[in-house]
Structure formats: C-alpha cells, structure tokens
Amino acid sequence: MFGTVAAYPRWSWWMSLGLFLAVSLGGWTRVTAQTVETSPSIPSLRELVNRLPEAQDEEARRALLMHIAAGGDAATERVFAALERGALYVDRRSRTVVEGSRKGSRYLLTDVLTGEALGEAGRRDVRRIPVDNRLRAELRTVQALGALEARDPTVRQAAISTLLGSSDPEVHKAFERRRGVEPEAALRSSLDVALAIFALGGHDPKAFSAALNTLEGRSEENVRTALRQFSARSDVLESQQVRAQRLLERAENRLRWLARLEALFFGLSLGSVLLLSAVGLAITFGVMGVINMAHGELIMLGAYTTWALQQLLPTQPGIALLLAIPTAFFVAGGVGLALERGVIRFLYGRPLETLLATFGISLILQQLVRSLFSPLNRSVSSPEWLAGAWEIVPGLALTYNRLAILGFSLLVFAALLSLMKYTRFGLQVRAVAQNRAMARALGVRSQRVDALTFALGSGVAGIAGVALTQLTNVGPNLGQAYIIDSFLVVVFGGVGNLWGTLVAAFSLGIANKALEPMVGAVLAKILLLIALILFLQRRPQGLFPRRGRQEEQG
C-alpha cells in the first residue's frame, strides 16, 4: 500500500530556483536595462549553457541560471525559450547542451545560441534537461519584467497582465517605477489597478481608500481576490471593509450577468456547429428527400482533407486550413456525386432503402479510413489567428475559434440560401423537388440536377468537417457523433426549409447550454432529446411545416 511521499528529487531544486529568481528579479531587470546596449557575449554564454548538466547541486544551478539570465540578449531568449519548451538536451557524445527536436526516432540537433544545424542524434545520445511548470512560470515572470520596459505598448500591456496576480515585492517595485514613466494613459490605468491591489495587501491605511476608489467597477479575478482578502483582514477599518465587500458583491453580480451572456454565446456556438453539420442534410434530406446516413462520414472526409493539407503544408497550418475549405467541398462533393450516381439514384422514392444503403456506405467509409490512416486520431493544428479569446470586458471573453465558426456557419448558410433562391440552379433544384415530371417537361435535366444537388449537400458536409477540426477529434468515428443530431435538427426545423434548419440549430444549441448548468451535460442532452421527440410527435412537420395540399395517400 502506498503511504507517504518521502522525496521529490526532480522538481525540488527547480522550486528553490524559482523562489530565488523571484527574489532576485529587481536586480536582474536593472542589469538587463544596462546590458541591452552592450554587445552580446556569445562565447561566455555558450560556456554557461554547457555547464548546465554539470551543475549537480541546487546552489550551482541557481547561480548558473542567474548568470545566463544576465545575458539578456536574443541568444538568452533562445536559451530560455528552448528550456521552457523542454527542447534543451545534453548531447552525451560531445557533452554539450544543444537544442533538439524529435523526428521519428531520431533527434535533429541545432545550436541553441545560433540556430545552426548540428546534425542528428539517436535516442540514446541525448538526455533532456528537465523543466516543469514552476520553472516555466518563473521564466515567464522574468520575461514579463523585461517586457515592462519594451517599446511596443501592446507588449507592455501583456506584461502587466502576466504580472498582475503576483504578490512579489520586486514586481511591486517594477510596477511603481513603470507608473512613473509610462506615457500611455490606458497602461497607466492598468498599472494603477495593479498598484491598488498591492496597496490593499499592504499595511498603509491611508492608501486603502484610494485603492478602493481605483478598483471601483473592476471585476478581474485578481481584483476580486484582493478585495476578498482585504475584507477578511482584521486590522483595517470596518467601513473600508464594508466598502470592499460592496465592491466585491458588485463585481460578482456583474460576473453573474456576464456568465449569462457567455452561456448565450456558448449556445449560439453549439448551434453553429449543429447548423454546419445539418445544413448539408437540409439539402439532401430536406430538398431531395434522400436519407443519407453517410452524411457524418462526408463530414469526416472534410476533416481528413484538412489534416492531409496540413501534412502537405506543415509550416502553414492557417493557409492549409483556408485551402481545405474549397478542397474539402470538392472532395466530399465528389464522393457525394459518386454515391448519387452509383447508388442513390436507383433508390429514389424508396427512402427506407436509401437509409439502409447509405448506412452501409457509412460503415465502409469508416473502415476504409481506419484501414488507410489507422484508427488513431489525426492531429490538426489551429492557426495562431484562431487561438485565444477576445476579451470584451473582464469576465467575458469569446474564443476566436468559436466566433470564427459561428461566422463561418452563417456565411455558409447565406451562400446556400442565395444559391437556392437567386440562381438558375437553385430554381431548377426547387422545381425538381416540387414536381419532377413537370420540371422535366420544361427541359430541366432532372438527373443532372439530382446529382449536383446531392453533391452540393455532400460538399457542404465536407466544409463542416473543416470547421470541426478546430473543435474536436479527427478520427474514423467523427461522423457518428453528428449524424443523429443533424437529422433531428433538420426534422425539427421542418423538412425542406433552410430557415427552419437555422432556427432549429440555434434554438437547440441555446436550450442545451441553458439546461447544462442546471442538470449537467448528460441529463441536458437526454432531456432535450425527449423534448424534441415529444415535440415532433405533436408536430411531425417541425417548426416550419411546408403547407400545401397533401399528396393523395398522405
């Protein structure tokens, strides 16, 4: 039986290092400020770096890293960046410290100072220099302290945000110094907040009231923590504590409101995913009446197309992603075309058979992907411009990838809608859907229209796959996760009605996200399904029924 944890050999010295770094930061920043002007001293830095593996005990390593940090130039940045990424290795043959990146079972080595290639090494030739979260955090603090003095105001702003939570007196001093010289008004007010937080944690009663004034209307996490701690102190005036309490309550109220807005956004975002995955079905099922159970696999093909393009353009994930949109459209559309010509056209008017046949196709496509690309998930990376979040106000941040997908889904929807509404092709599609014989009599080549319509719906599924790579797994099972939801969205919206699909997708998304905090994710989904079934049993035609004289046998 496992008892107590007796020793922590690997991380303990890093912890002490971190503390030490933090304490010595003030001195360090002054050093950097001076050395920025002087010429870099590469040889001595290399010596220092090479001494990393030799320095066995904590003291030695501490001193060593301090020395390296004192370099403060581009090469130092490289060393720190590589260290932070865990990409520094000891080459056991030459006993030098190099930067390495894994390539298959080999390592590509480069000079950590110059970036010059040093050839390859086997797994046994190198040993990684360990790194952990504490070290990373400290390195980040160090870098942020340096960045406080940077020319670019956005860099300075980022540095302030990074340092905001710190209770380190050196950070306090750095903030005070910067406040004195900061030319930008916006940054000055950020610094004021930062200083107010320090003031609340300090022991100067005169500063409290000014600090509370500064923090009025703020709801950042660090502000709230400072207010909370302040109102729990025993050595301050009760009136000030009450005030802090009130500020805290107001901030928390604000956050509650923002959380509601956020939930709405989550719902819209979930709705946009549902819309993207269902809108292709709205065409193949809604307009043509074809039950395509392989729709999910067409989405999966779109996702794999994205992955393939990223493999072709390994350095440009963003461009590959953009290129994937048309490519996936044509790949999935092409497969859809082949399906229509090869299978579905023989089954028109027999929807249940179409269902079974396309289900067979979906099994084949799944296993095909599994056999070709292995059953493992594929890694699709997100471009920089989709990473992170847009912070509208503190406490309400919308993630870029979700925003992009929301916008993208609306764009796809608008494009489809105008295609169906304003183009000749759209007219033909609607004509064939309403009265095939009449359309043919008027010279519409209905077979061609069928094939192209199906290809269109499939292509849109492919596009959905591209978008999904930014949210979820790219693997053989991808399509399965969306097929049932997609059908329900289309049926709920009213078959044959694109607007209905839009409304259905967003209302289901929002309903799901509204329920989730109350009953949990699992039950939310179940309850929604039940509600949907009950609704459709009352109104099988969905939200927006197509009203007309029904077919005779209806």
């Binding site: 197509r546 009203r547 007309g548 004289r549 029904q550 005779e552 046998q553 209806g554």
Partner: protein
Amino acid sequence: MADIDTRHGVMLYLDAVSVSFSGYQALNELSLAVDEGELRCLIGPNGAGKTTLMDVITGKTRPDSGSVFLGQDINLLDHDEAAIARLGVGRKFQKPSVFPHQRVWDNLALALVGHRSPWQALRYKPSTADEDRVAHLAKLIGLYDLAGQAAGGLSHGQTQWLEIGMLLAQDPKLLLIDEPVAGMTQQETERTAELLQSLVPDQTVVVVEHDMAFVRSIARRVSVLHEGRVLTEGSIDAVQTDARVREVYLGDAC
C-alpha cells in the same frame, strides 16, 4: 353506423368553407348542398378546388372556416377520416388505390361494413351473408371471375371498378368519386356510367369529372367550381350555355 337525419332531403351541406395553403386560397367561402339520392357532378378547371373540397368533406383537410354537415345534425368537422367513413361517406381517389398484394376478393371483404376495431378484426370469421355480399359486389363490378387474383394485376379500369366496389361494400350513404373514368376506354367509360347511375337514388353520389361527355351521360345536376367557390349550378345544358362558365372554360372540352 349512425342514421343520417335527412328529413329535409339534404344529404350534404357545406356553408362558407374556406381553405388556404400558404397564401393560396384553395376554397373561398364555398357553399354547396347535395340532396339525398342525387347524382351530382362537380366540374371546374384545374385548381378550382374540387379535390380540396373532397378532402374537406372526408376529413383529410381541416378548413380555416365554415361548416360541413352530413344530413341535418352530423358536423363532419368533429370527426376524423376513419370516423367519417364509418358514418357512411365513401371516397374514391383520383389515383386508384386498392391493396395490390391482396386478392380482389379480400379487397372487397376488407371493405365490408363492420368489424373495424383491431379486436373485432382479430376475431372476425366471415359469415355466409358476408360471402354472399362479396360475391354479389364482385359480380356487380364485373370482377367475379378475377376474384382470386391479386389486385395488383388488374387493368386500370378494373382497378377503378374494384375501388368503387370497395366503396359499395362499406354501405355508404354518400359516395364521393374523383375522376372515375380518366384513362378508361370508351367501353369502360360506358360501363362505369351505368354502374354509377344504378346507385341512385339508394345512395347519394358526387362525381368530380373532366370528361364532359361522361358528365352529360350521367348527371342531372352540375355544379361548376371556379377559384374555390361555386360559380353556378344547374342542368348540364344550362351550365354549358352560361357565359361565365364559357369564359373560365375557354378552350376546354365543353
């Protein structure tokens, strides 16, 4: 089957019935009365609302407004299709609909009045009277010799007759017949005309038909529908000389 109160001689009475489909006015305040024992023809150009009218009477389409009475006191709007059928309203569709996988005999037997609930159907054993009735109907529609065949193999005209036979098996008081002779040969059309004429006055018959010659051969009274309302009513001669009718039918087969 409830008795239909026809003391005032009216079998079917529609008052100000309106139906619209997404903006399109299929029936527009239509009123119509059909007397008991009458054979009435409904004519009108495409889209005049003939089939919609039938749909409303048989409960398939609910009108937006108006009322529909069978006899004096049965409000048809209170009932669904199956109940209306059980009340004694039989309907033949434009497109013949019989049960293709079952024998002609079984088609007729299924339509025989009574035994409509699942439980009754489970315990049903055909009586001699039932057998006789089916045989009689099969002879009436001229399919007695084919009674053992699957209905799916019948010719178009035979299918139409079978469907009329099934209607008759229900013992209806009111028959609604949609385009019975479309696609029939001259001979078949004549036989159909005879068949329909033999039904009145025991039953009330409403026929929708395009074939003017056929209408002339059977109808005593004709209603002309146009844009969802009754344009005019009268004998076939009177209707055909009506100026408004000529206007809406310009070029049609009158």
